[in-house]
Symmetry: C2
Subunit: 469 residues, 2 copies
C-alpha cells in the first residue's frame, strides 16, 4: 500500500484562519496550534506516517462538539476526532489538514445501572478508568484491546481483543450512542432496552465508522458480572498446527472459553528474553475460563483433553490471582518483548481474521512465507476468533525492509481474503488498509461511499479514512 507523501489541505487558507479565530473565541486556551501538540495528535501508535492537524481543540460537552463541528463545516475545514491516539492504521492522521477534536476531557461516567448491567459514559473515558470506577459493583466491561483506549475510540474502531471470544466485540457491547452529525444534528441512536426492532440499526452503523460519519460523544455500554471463578491455563505444543487444532476443536465443541491466545515460538522466545522466563520456545496457548467453580473446572478439563490429543505438553492451570498473573505474564508483555528483539526498530502491527476452519492453514502458510524473508515478525493471536496479528520489526529508514514488509503484509491479507476472511479483524481501516477494503468488499464499498456522502456530503469528517470519496 502506497502512503500519501504529503497532506493535501482542503480548506482555503483564509477559511482556516477564520475557523481558528472562531474556535479560539469559543474555546480560549482549549485551542492549541503548538507544534508539539499538533504533532502528537497527527499520529497514532502505528508505523504509518503522521500528518499533524492545523490545530487541536479540546471539547468538554456534546454541545461544544456541536459548535466546533458547526464552525469547521461552515468554513470547509476537516474535523478529525481523537481519543487516546492508540489506533494502528493511521486513523488520526490529518491527511487533508484541519482540526483535531480531542475528546479526552469528556471523561465523565454519566450513569451506571447495575440492575440493567449497563452504563453511559462520555466518549473520552478510557476502559481502565471505567473498570476502576466499577470496581465495587461486581461488574466489569470486558473489551480489552491492549491499549488503555478511550471508549469513544474503541467504539469508532469496533475494538475487540482478548475477551472477544466470550464477550463479543464493541459491536455486541455498545447499546447506543450520542452522535454529532456533520450538519450539527445531535442524535441518540437507540434506547436502552436489550433488543429492538425499531428502525435501521444506526448504533451498529456508527460502531466501526472511524469518525467518518459523525462524532461520537456518549456511549451506552453493556456490562457483565465479574465471574465467580476465573481459571487461567498455559499449554505449549511442538507444532503450531497442534496448537491451532486445539483452538478449532475447542470452539467447535462450544466450550465457552473466555480467552484463548496464541503466541508463536518467535514470540515466546522474545518473552523469555524480555521477562527472564524459561518457557519452552514452542507455540503456546494462553487460556482463561470464567464461570462457577464447577463450570470452569469442567471447561478446563475438556480443553486439557483436547490439547493432549493434539500433542500439547503439561496443562498448567490456576485459580489464584497471583499465579494467574504469572502464567499470563508472557502474554501481557508480548508487544514490548517483541520490540526488544530488535532495539531501535519500529513495529508494523497488522491483523487478519479468517473462518476458524481455515485458521491453521492461514497461520501455517503465513509462517512459511515469513520463513523465506529476513524480516522477523512475532505472531500473537486472538485465535478463538480466527484472528491473529504479526508485528514486522523493521528499520523505517530502510526502504527495502519497508517494501519487503509491505509485500509480506499484502500476501497475508490476500491469503486471508482468499479464505473468506477479512483484511482486519480488529485494527480497522484508517488509511493503511483502504485498498484492501476494496479487495474485500468490492461493490459494497460503493454502498459505503453513498452512506458517507449522504451523511457528510462535503467529506469533512476524518476525510481519507475508510472509504475514498
Amino acid at each position: 500500500m502506497a502512503h500519501p507523501a504529503v497532506a493535501h489541505p482542503v480548506a482555503a487558507p483564509d477559511q482556516l484562519t477564520a475557523a481558528l479565530a472562531e474556535l479560539g473565541q469559543l474555546l480560549g486556551n482549549r485551542l492549541s496550534t503548538a507544534s508539539a501538540v499538533r504533532e502528537s495528535h497527527g499520529r497514532d501508535e502505528s508505523y504509518h506516517m503522521g500528518f499533524p492537524p492545523d490545530a487541536v481543540v479540546f471539547a468538554q460537552s456534546t454541545e461544544e462538539v456541536q459548535a466546533i463541528v458547526g464552525i469547521c463545516v461552515q468554513h470547509g475545514v476537516p474535523v478529525i476526532p481523537f481519543g487516546t491516539g492508540t489506533s494502528l492504521e493511521g486513523h488520526v492522521a490529518a491527511l487533508h489538514g484541519g482540526v483535531c477534536l480531542d475528546l479526552s476531557h469528556m471523561n465523565q461516567i454519566l450513569r451506571v445501572s447495575p440492575e440493567d448491567l449497563d452504563c453511559t459514559v462520555q466518549a473520552g473515558v478510557t476502559r481502565k478508568a471505567l473498570n476502576e470506577y466499577l470496581r465495587d459493583t461486581g461488574l466489569f466491561f470486558p473489551i480489552d484491546p491492549g491499549a488503555d483506549a478511550s471508549l469513544g475510540g474503541m467504539t469508532a474502531t469496533r475494538a475487540s481483543g482478548t475477551n472477544a471470544v466470550r464477550y463479543g466485540t464493541m459491536r455486541e457491547n455498545v447499546l447506543g450512542l450520542t452522535v454529532v452529525m456533520a450538519d450539527g444534528r445531535i442524535i441518540r441512536t437507540s434506547r436502552r432496552s436489550r433488543k429492538s426492532a425499531a428502525g435501521y440499526d444506526l448504533t451498529r452503523l456508527f460502531v466501526g465508522s472511524e469518525g467518518t460519519l459523525g462524532i461520537i460523544t456518549e456511549v451506552t455500554l453493556r456490562l457483565h458480572g465479574i465471574p465467580e471463578v476465573i481459571v487461567s491455563a498455559v499449554v505449549s505444543f511442538p507444532t503450531i498446527k497442534g496448537a491451532v487444532d486445539t483452538v478449532i476443536e475447542t470452539i467447535q465443541s462450544g466450550i465457552p472459553v473466555a480467552r484463548m491466545e496464541l503466541l508463536d515460538e518467535v514470540q515466546v522466545g522474545a518473552c523469555n528474553a524480555y521477562s527472564k522466563l524459561s518457557m519452552a520456545e514452542q507455540p503456546t496457548l494462553f487460556l482463561e475460563f470464567h464461570g462457577t467453580a464447577n463450570g470452569t473446572q469442567e471447561q478446563a478439563e475438556r480443553v486439557a483433553e483436547l490439547a493432549a490429543s493434539n500433542g500439547g505438553g503439561s496443562f498448567q492451570w490456576s485459580t489464584s490471582p497471583e499465579e494467574r498473573a504469572k502464567l499470563w505474564e508472557a502474554r501481557h508483555k508480548a508487544y514490548y518483548a517483541a520490540m526488544a528483539l530488535r532495539p531501535g526498530c519500529k513495529g508494523w502491527a497488522t491483523d487478519v481474521c479468517v473462518p476458524i476452519s481455515r485458521l491453521a492453514d492461514c497461520i501455517v502458510e503465513t509462517k512459511a512465507d515469513l520463513a523465506q524473508s529476513t524480516i522477523v515478525a512475532p505472531m500473537v493471536g486472538h485465535v478463538g476468533d480466527g484472528n491473529f496479528h504479526l508485528v514486522y520489526l523493521i528499520d523505517p529508514d530502510n526502504a527495502e525492509e519497508v517494501a519487503e514488509a509491505g509485500r509480506l503484509n499484502d500476501r497475508m491479507v490476500m491469503r486471508a481474503l482468499a479464505m473468506d476472511g477479512t483484511c482486519t479483524g480488529e485494527h480497522g481501516v484508517g488509511y493503511g488498509k483502504l485498498d484492501f477494503l476494496t479487495a474485500e468488499h468490492g461493490e459494497a464499498v460503493s454502498v459505503m461511499r453513498q452512506i458517507k456522502l449522504a451523511l457528510d456530503p462535503r467529506n469533512l469528517l476524518n476525510p481519507g479514512k475508510v472509504v475514498r470519496v
Copy 2:
C-alpha cells in the same frame, strides 16, 4: 395510529403495464395478477389492513431478483419483498401499489460448514426447513419467532423470539448477506470471519431494514451446537411482580438461561381452556436451560431458589423430551388459546421492550390499564430480554373496540418509551408503528431517512415502511 384508507399508487398506469409486460416475458407463469394471489400477498398475519399489490412475481435466483428490480425501477413501480407473510406490522402491504417479489422459491441451502458453525441459505428457506436439514450435524439455528418464517424475512425484520435471551436475535446471528440494491448492484456485505473491523457494518444495516434499502437474497447464518442437555421447567406465582422479579434477578445474576417466558393469568386460563390443562391460573414462568448435565442442574437450582424467594410455587422440571414438551405445551399453543377466548375475534398483536429494571413496573402498569378496559388482552413475554407482547382480542368491525385497543396500545408504547424502552422489541415497524418510531428516535429518524434516500432515491423499495419519505 391512523391507517391509510386506500393505497396510493405511485406508478403511472402505462408504466405499470409496460413493467408487467417485461416481467411476464422474463418470468412466464411465475408472474401472477390473479386476485387471490394478490390478496394473499398484500396482507400479513396482523390486524392491519391489507393492500394487494398489482402483481406477484416469484424469483428463483439473485440474478433474477436483479432483473426484476431493474424492470420495476426503470418504470417507477414499487417492489415489496415477501417471504412467508407472517410479519405483524403490515410489512408486506402494497401501500403504493407495485409488484410483490415473492422469494419463497429461493429455498436452497447453499452451504453448511459444521467446522465453522455457519451456513449460507437463499432468502426463502424457512427456519424449520433449515433445522430439519441440520438434524444430523449436531447443530441448530436457534432463532424462533414462533411462525415458520423465511430466513430472509427474519433478517429483514430483525426477528427474535424465545431463545434470544441466550443466543441473541438476528442481529447477532447473521454473519453476512447478499443484497440486490435499487440500482441493480449486487453486493455481499461481509466475509465469513467471526469478526471484522473492515468498514461500515452493512450487514447490521440491512438486518431490520424491512426491504426498504435493498432485497436480501442470501443469508449467512451463525449456527450453534445442540446442547448436550436441555432442562425445561415451569413455576407459577401468586403475583405478576413475583414472577417478573424472579426474571430480573436471574438476568442480573448472569445465569445463562436459554428461554424465559412469562404467561399472565389471563393467558394461563386461556391455555387451560384450550388444551384441557389444569394449571394454576396464576402468572407462570416457562424456562429452559442448555448446557452440560452439571451446568444445567446448577442453573435450574439457582433459578428455583430465586423463584422460591419470590413466592413461586413448586418448581417442576425435567430433562426428558416428552415431559419437556408437556411442560411447555401451554406456551407453544398460547396464541391459538388466546384467540379461542373469543371465537371469531381478530388478534391485534403488539410488543414493547424495556430495560430489565423497569420490566415489573411496565408490566404491572400495563395490566392495571387493561383492567380499566373491557378489552381482553392476554400477555406473553420473552421477559428475559425485557420484551413482552399483548394480543388485544377485538371485533375488527366494531370501530369503538378498535379505537379502544389503539388507545391502550398508544399508552403501552409511550409507557415503554418513558422507561427508555423501545416501541417494538421484535415485531418491527412496518406501517403500524411509523409514528412511534419518531416518538422513539426523534432526530435520528432524519438520519435513517437520509440513508434510505441515498440508497433508494426514488423510494421504490417497500415504500411507506420504516420511515416516511
